[in-house]
Amino acid sequence: MAKTPIGLEPVVGSLTSTKKREYRVTNRLQEGKRPLYAVIFNFIDSRYFNVFATVGGNRVTVYQCLEGGVIAVLQSYVDEDKDESFYTVSWVCNVDGTPFLVAGGINGVIRVIDASNEKIHKSFVGHGDSINEIRTQPLKPSLIVSASKDESVRLWNVHTGICILIFAGAGGHRNEVLSVDFHPSDIYRIASCGMDNTVKIWSMKEFWTYVEKSFTWTDLPSKFPTKYVQFPVFLASVHSNYVDCNRWLGDFILSKSVDNEIVLWEPKMKEQSPGEGTVDILQKYPVPECDIWFIKFSCDFHYNSAAIGNREGKIFVWELQSSPPVLIARLSHAQSKSPIRQTAMSFDGSTILCCCEDGTIWRWDAVPAN
């Protein structure tokens, strides 16, 4: 990677914890023996803000956070295929408001679970290999994107079961796609990143008619004219190794590789020539011992703070939108030694969950300030 020129250096956060907020372990669950890869709160429907889901092995489990550090198991789903290993899960809201869960993993099949009826709603077959991440469009929560090892990102309509768009081809990723995220306000825009070390921003503006068409499609889903989006609108080489997580922070992007840090940068596109542009790296949030891939961070609802685990079972909570970045807290526990694959921050950031390689779920609660 080229040296950052003078005057464009990022602002790097200090690892000295400000202890702005203190967290304490309030619960620890052993879900099973297989590693847990994802944990996520439901931010789609305010009824379920305290409900979260985890995936690991062939299992999808739904929990609820209760007062006093209590966690209740609400539902548990098991794929009959024992070889399935789910890597990702996301909350979806069908057009009629039904809460759905969408999970995907090594089999490459997207499982859409109707949580309000406790049964499978649909299964989407199409990805040629394992699915590494699924995200929900917050403005239209029946749309999901999935990132896959087959080098594609696909947009699906959960309601009708249609694969609307495939983001792959001539300008697509050249290795597994590890992460994908919807822009919070620009409904056309997504960012994806993966093992080809790049972050790509895609626009579906020109294909939006297909998205609309997918809602009213009555014929077989396989008959839908699925389109290929072959060229991203922006390509960023911010990292020099696998990029395993990216999230929009407004118009900026937070992304991480295996370099012990999260990077906040601004994509500066050139109006005239799509696909080209420059990257302005604004801030860096160091995360020690975070040098293995497939570790994902999470943000609270308002993107005030982000939590990320590391290889040694510690969690770093960063204030995202202050400059320079502020380390809110560093969480460690004597018994937490296993790599933390993903964290989940509750709506207001007062609860942090993490799921670990050893199949445990940890709950940390903020100590009320007084």
Binding site: G7, Y48, Q64, V73, G97, V125, D129, R174
Partner: protein
């Protein structure tokens, strides 16, 4: 630096040395100052930076706050809409939530007794640090199994091969692999051949760097130490820094004047370009082989190859007399004729036909000359007369110099063509003007062509040259006489030109003059040119933009001297037929002027002066531009490095060292000799070559009459080529239902149908993609086919062998390769781009075979049926791996047919240390 120590120890040094030391010290001190200046500036920049980041984050945060609040509202709406719509009791998730809440209250009472609920088969469980695995806490809901797809990488369908774009190359790029079993990522720098060629890109200076640069120099002046420390600070070379400073200073000056200029520059840029510039994108982007823009197979910036065989100018068959529109020159001329001349011979027809003929001649002459890539100015000379010929002979030495390979044969052509024209001209003269003049003209013609010949054969020979000069002098004087004999014509002509200058040509008035002009201009030209041409040129330049002139010249090339067609097809909306006609005759005059002045200047003995000299330089400029364009051609770097590793590839034959040769059209303009690139490369010349059809190295196609080109009796078939309707005599392509065929000469109508054009015509079978009976994906046939039937093409990305070696290593790790050796230059890779036939599996006893076939200059892979295949059968063919490189499964006969071995199950994402 420890200059201070040196100073202490330097007491015993001579004065001289001490002086030197002092200098050094001074320098050090000042460089310290410089450093401090730079440091403070750096700090300032850093402070500015953190401030600007902060500001931008704040702005973004404000925006994001609004967005998340909106999302919050949405999530609240979902709750209320749900409650409004349906009975909440039917929502099991909500029910479980309530249950859990109730239970928690119960636990609180029972003080978290685990046993209290674990025996009652709970549908909800509340856990507080329990040791029971959660998975046993509630009864799981089963998700019925869905069969997963065989693995594949998302690929794009290609109906024809594509050349790899540079950004797709994996050569020179670091690739990180992770071991599927251990799950550990390892950075692989594969071997010694992977020397990362980092382009020393000229880094742009950023705003902040400019700031430091400017301010430092402002404070510490411009000196070497300043530049050095600046360079160090900015990690660049001092020279770079200096150059940047200079440009910065210049920019400052320019900035001020720029603002003023901007307004003035506001005109139509398109019309200001000359034709060559406008055609630049055409030359670069249009594929002459596929006849499409932005061809993905042959790429942009191909070598421009102009065929030596030029077609005759296009002639509209049924357009004899009909005027092309209200501004047609015919109408104008006609009305004038009606007024005055009333010639019984209906002269306009004659003049038309003759001018057309001349056009034809001219273009043939030009095509010969085209090689020298000059012609622009001359191409306008369609109506060349005696005098312009002499000017030609003057220009020629310049041509010969600039053309890389002087050849004698075309100059012969030229002479022939020219004398032909001259004869035509003289004929026309005879018909239209005085008969007495005719004789003189003829005489002159003869002498001129003589002079021309001598000029061509030995252009530098001064002795020979003096001869034509004299003759042209004669010619000049003779035409002088003519002019005098037709006084009226001359004066009228003057009138007309003056009007032309004013830019208004009221038809009624000028028609008269024009008629005479067109008939007499050759005779008056001499005089008229001397006196008025300067002005006339001016007016031309004003009303005819560069691009219009260029289009006109092209038009003459295409249509001959047919102003109707030129105006309609090329200058539509820009110029009327009448204007084109005027310009055409004007161009003649100009040429004559050039000729005359050329003659004069030569007589004066200053040969390097005047218009000819100007034209010479013009020539050079054009050529250099052309060269520049050629220089931009992106040639595929093809360096064969013997690498120890060879990836697994499919091949056509088992013969090891006879790959087909990639064809690249040669640019020979004559029959190909030893220099011909095709001959050197060992390929036949094809229809895309520059050489004439008579070239001995050309593949002649077939003359098959009955065999339908399906056996080795057909020379095309025998040479593994498809028949080409442009080349083969009896092979043609019909349109639609076959009753109305395009461009089929009547003698071929005996129902002969060539069976050797299936790839060209895409007459392929429907192939279905499905789960293979053997392993992974497989290709299946929809309909029954017979033996040797063409099934389809194996398409993919065309990559170099070097690229294929690198990619092959990656693919072999995944144990799935879609590489296919095509010829000595290219390998087909269907990994990310291809068609369904890429999924056909390998078998040692296959039912298909693959064959590389030359189709219109390109090698393509066709898959054919080896035997009769029934509908729904899976397709197999022998990949013909080289014995020592075959993957394990292909070596064992019992494991035949499986292309992809099921990789060991992924044991999870354990430590992926990178």
């Amino acid at each position: 630096m420890d200059d201070d120590d040196n100073n202490d120890a330097g007491e015993w040094l001579s004065e001289k040395t001490r002086f030197k030391m002092a200098q050094v010290e001074e320098k050090t001190v000042s460089s310290k100052e410089i450093l401090s200046v730079i440091d403070s500036l750096k700090k300032q920049v850093a402070a500015d930076r953190s401030l600007s980041v902060k500001k931008r984050l704040e702005e973004n945060s404000k925006k994001l706050g609004g967005i998340t609040n909106h999302l919050y509202t949405l999530s609240n709406e979902r709750r209320s809409s749900w409650i409004g719509d349906t009975d909440s009791a039917s929502d099991l998730l909500t029910k479980r939530q309530k249950d859990a809440l109730g239970m928690q209250n119960g636990i609180d009472l029972s003080n978290g007794d685990d046993d209290g609920y674990s025996y009652q088969e709970p549908s909800t469980a509340v856990l507080m640090g329990s040791s029971i695995p959660v998975k046993n806490a509630v009864r799981p809901i089963k998700l019925t199994e869905v069969k997963k797809l065989p693995p594949y990488t998302t690929w794009i369908f290609l109906d024809r091969n594509q050349r790899m774009t540079e950004d797709q190359s994996v050569v020179g790029r670091r690739r990180i692999y992770y071991d599927q079993n251990g799950g550990e990522a390892l950075i692989c720098s594969d071997s010694e051949e992977e020397v990362i060629e980092e382009d020393e890109e000229k880094k742009e200076f950023f705003e902040s760097e400019d700031f430091i640069l400017r301010m430092t120099i402002k404070e510490a002046c411009l000196s070497d130490p300043v530049l050095e420390s600046l360079a160090q600070c900015l990690s660049r070379s001092p020279a770079e820094v200096k150059a940047r400073y200079e440009t910065l200073m210049k920019e400052k000056d320019v900035e001020a004047s720029k603002n003023r200029d901007i307004e003035a520059q506001n005109w139509n840029s398109f019309l200001e370009k000359d034709l060559e510039a406008a055609l630049d994108s055409f030359d670069n982007l249009f594929c002459r082989r596929c006849l499409v823009f932005d061809c993905r197979l042959h790429g942009c910036s191909q070598d421009l190859i102009f065929p030596a065989d030029k077609q005759n100018p296009w002639n509209h068959p049924d357009e004899e007399n009909a005027p092309c529109g209200p501004h047609c020159y015919r109408l104008v001329l006609k009305s004038e004729r009606n007024d005055t001349v009333r010639s019984p011979m209906n002269p306009e027809d004659k003049s038309n036909s003759s001018s057309d003929g001349v056009g034809a001649q001219i273009s043939s002459k030009k095509s010969a000359r085209r090689k020298a890539k000059s012609s622009q100015s001359e191409s306008a000379s369609s109506n060349t007369r005696n005098l312009s010929e002499s000017s030609d002979s003057e220009i020629r030495p310049g041509h010969e110099e600039s053309s890389p390979t002087p050849q004698l044969s075309p100059s012969k052509n030229k002479i022939a063509g020219k004398s032909g024209i001259l004869k035509r001209n003289s004929k026309r003269v005879a018909e239209r003007v005085l008969i007495c003049m005719c004789k003189r003209q003829k005489k002159m013609t003869a002498s001129e062509s003589d002079s021309l010949a001598s000029g061509c054969v030995s252009p530098t020979d001064m002795k020979l040259r003096s001869n034509p000069r004299k003759q042209s002098e004669d010619a000049t004087s003779s035409s002088h006489k003519d002019v005098k004999s037709s006084n009226t014509g001359r004066y009228r002509k003057k009138d007309w030109t003056l009007k032309g200058v004013q830019g208004e040509v009221p038809p009624n008035e000028t028609v008269n003059d024009l008629a005479l002009t067109s008939s007499n201009d050759f005779s008056i030209r001499e005089e008229f040119v001397d006196e008025n041409l300067g002005k006339q040129e001016l007016s031309d330049d004003n009303s005819w933009k560069a691009i219009e002139k260029g289009l006109f010249e092209k038009g003459v090339e295409i249509f001959g001297r047919n102003s109707c067609l030129i105006a309609r097809n090329l200058l539509n909306g820009l110029k009327t037929c009448w204007e084109v006609f005027q310009y055409m005759t004007g161009a003649d005059n100009k040429l004559a002027y050039h000729a005359a002045s050329g003659v004069l200047s030569l007589l004066e003995g200053c040969s390097k002066y005047d218009l000819n000299g100007a034209m010479g330089s013009n020539e050079v400029r054009r050529r250099s531009r052309f060269l520049r364009r050629r220089g931009r051609v992106r040639r595929l770097k093809y360096t064969w490095k013997s690498t120890a590793y060879h990836s697994i590839r499919k091949r056509i034959t088992e013969r090891k060292d006879q790959p087909c040769r990639q064809y690249n059209p040669c640019s020979c303009q004559t029959a190909c000799g030893k220099q011909c690139s095709c001959l050197l490369n060992g390929t036949c010349c094809e229809k895309y070559c520059g050489c004439p059809k008579s070239c001995k190295n050309r593949f002649r196609g077939c003359h098959c009459a009955k065999s339908q080109c399906r056996s080795r009796q057909c020379p095309c078939f025998a040479a593994d080529r498809e028949c080409d309707p442009d080349v083969c005599r009896n092979c043609w392509v019909s349109c639609g239902d076959g009753t109305a065929s395009l461009g089929v000469p009547p003698q071929r109508g005996d129902n002969y149908e060539c069976r050797n054009m299936k790839l060209l015509l895409k007459q392929q079978q429907r192939v279905l993609l499905g789960r293979s009976e053997v392993s992974g994906w497989g290709a299946f046939l929809k309909n029954n086919v017979g033996k040797h039937e063409y099934l389809g093409e194996y398409t993919g990305e065309l990559i170099s062998h070097r690229e294929a070696d690198k990619r092959g290593k990656i693919y072999d790790r995944e144990n799935s390769s879609f590489l296919f050796n095509l010829n000595d230059q290219f390998v087909l890779d269907a990994y990310r781009k291809g068609d369904k036939l890429k999924f056909a599996n390998h078998s040692p006893e296959p039912n298909c075979y693959a064959k590389v076939i030359m189709v219109a200059g390109d090698h393509r892979v066709g898959i054919f049926a080896k035997e009769r295949i029934n509908a729904g059968e899976e397709l197999f063919y022998d990949y013909r791996y080289e014995p020592d490189r075959a993957p394990a499964w292909a070596r064992k006969p019992e494991a035949s047919g499986s292309k992809k071995e099921d990789g060991a199950p992924w044991s999870g994402r354990a430590k992926k240390l990178a």
